[in-house]
Symmetry: C2
Subunit: 316 residues, 2 copies
């Protein structure tokens, strides 16, 4: 005999509260509705659910047993409602994040931690990739947000871009690098030291090539490549190697006093760091909230970044 789930929930509420009126109130229903449900249930079952004529309403064995199952449904229903509410406030769900390694590690990871203090129910799945991977992943619905620098976004790509920061690269080095002591750095100084090559496919690699072109120098000595961001930092700490990094990364790592940037200016690419997202997708609130958080965090950092830029890069 199949029973309507809702009926069992109503029964559970009545048994729990010990009264039809209170049970109805608990569910936000009127008393007659619940009363009728019980009457109908008893009629269908052919068995009484309550001992009649006792005011402290007393369920029969069957009534109590069925109410137990109803109670399970009731609590599942309550949890489901909470889940939906949480989800709608971005308090539950998953944010699938993809991005270029240095930004993700130096800046985004910390922001994820901050974000989750306010949204503890949200899980973040992080993955790495450069623009082509990220846009493919977005279109295939493998990630919700791509964090990457971008030159120009094609119209009709189905993606939207939310700018976060103007890209600004620097020549990074360990904090005890000899060149930091020089009054004025010239191209020849730069090629005198070993270099760390940015990962193949990364914007930083093409940026590096453009810088070398601008400097008019030929080849540099690449002594290390392929390491993840933390490897690169640790390598720089221990050597006099140089590499190209986004300034914001150096900024984010300033507290560690492990790496810094050379006070050396060069033409910057017309590029912006930002969040890449699907244009026409239903956006989960958690994703919205995360994007908003990242945007706000960068907004708050903007003047600090600017000050650091001036202090470090131009030695102000």
């Amino acid at each position: 005999m199949k029973l309507d789930e809702r009926h069992l929930v109503q029964l559970a509420a009545v048994v729990q509260t010990g009264s039809v009126t209170e049970g109805a109130a608990l569910l936000g229903l009127a008393q007659p509705a619940v009363s009728r449900t019980l009457a109908m249930l008893e009629k269908r079952l052919g068995e009484p659910l309550f001992h009649k004529g006792r005011r402290p309403l007393e369920p029969t064995a069957l009534g109590r047993a069925l109410a137990d199952h109803g109670q399970i449904m009731l609590s599942a229903s309550r949890k489901a409602s909470e889940l939906v509410d949480d989800f709608r406030h971005g308090q539950a769900g998953v944010v699938r994040l993809g991005g270029v390694p240095f930004f993700m590690d130096a800046l985004i990871a910390g922001m994820v931690a901050e974000f989750q203090q306010a949204h503890p129910g949200v899980r973040v799945d992080q993955s790495y990739g450069y623009l082509p991977d990220l846009s493919a992943a977005l279109l295939a619905d493998r990630i919700d947000i791509g964090v990457c620098p971008i030159d120009i976004l094609d119209e009709g790509s189905g993606l939207t871009f939310q700018e976060i920061l103007r890209a600004h690269n620097v020549i990074a080095c360990g904090v005890s690098h000899p060149l930091l002591l020089k009054r004025r750095i010239i191209a020849a100084d730069l090629i005198a030291y070993p270099w760390i090559a940015p990962p193949p496919g990364s914007p930083l690699l093409s940026d590096l090539h453009r810088i070398l072109l601008w400097l008019g120098v030929g080849e540099i000595r690449v002594r290390y490549s392929g390491g993840s961001p933390l490897s690169v930092v640790n390598y720089m700490k221990a050597t006099d190697a140089l590499t190209v990094l986004p300034h914001s990364v150096v900024f984010a790592l300033r507290k560690d006093k492990a790496i810094t940037a050379l006070p050396f200016d060069f033409p910057q690419p017309e590029r912006k760091l930002g969040l890449l997202r699907l244009a026409e997708a239903p956006r989960a609130p958690a994703v919205e909230a995360f994007a908003a958080h990242v945007g706000k965090s960068f907004e708050n950092l903007k003047h600090l970044i600017k000050r650091h830029e001036e202090a470090v890069v131009w030695g102000a």
Copy 2:
């Protein structure tokens, strides 16, 4: 946001089977009904529950999470259905049994055990009492069945009586009692031995008084009283004490070879053993089934009891 329990169950079925069609079949619904439910849920939530345009239907994070809760409800619902079915077949529930001690212990307890082999889900709550207690308990709905001997049932008491056995008392004694060796027992023999008094208020006590009246003897020596049935049996085993017992009790205990009955005939009360029940009560199937089982068991025993009666009491 409150969600209809049934909708979540449908969602769970779809997620579980991986298809709207199969999910609908699982619940015995038509595919469009479920399809519409899902569409309505998504509209209400403002969030998709499934990633569109993938054939192995893939739920979103929210869809999966809600389906989990729905799954809980679904299984609770299934269990509730089973419970009801069991209950209707007398396979679940409680039988609250009250009765006079000797019958309950010697005969009914064994029948409860038999009954539960076929109805393992039924619990039996046993209590003791004599007719006044039992009818009060029945009317107050503290028990479902009273097992007791009864002379005449008042009309209008609201109770019904189902006869099981004609009452037949015997003088019980240990199997090695000296009187068993005598050819013919007379009144003087009976008062020569110590007696066990039946419990105050019991029919057996008034039966005993009537027997003494009939015998024309005055007082007997009461040496023991107040014991439960097992005490009485053990006492008789170890002494030459006599007492009045229903023959059926002696019959039920015949296998133990501890007690038996004296071949001594006396007038029997016009009384029947049977099941006392509320006349106008909705009867739980388990109670019905138990009453039927007891009736059948006694029916099966009837000829054995008769044979035993003839063999023991009249020494046939």
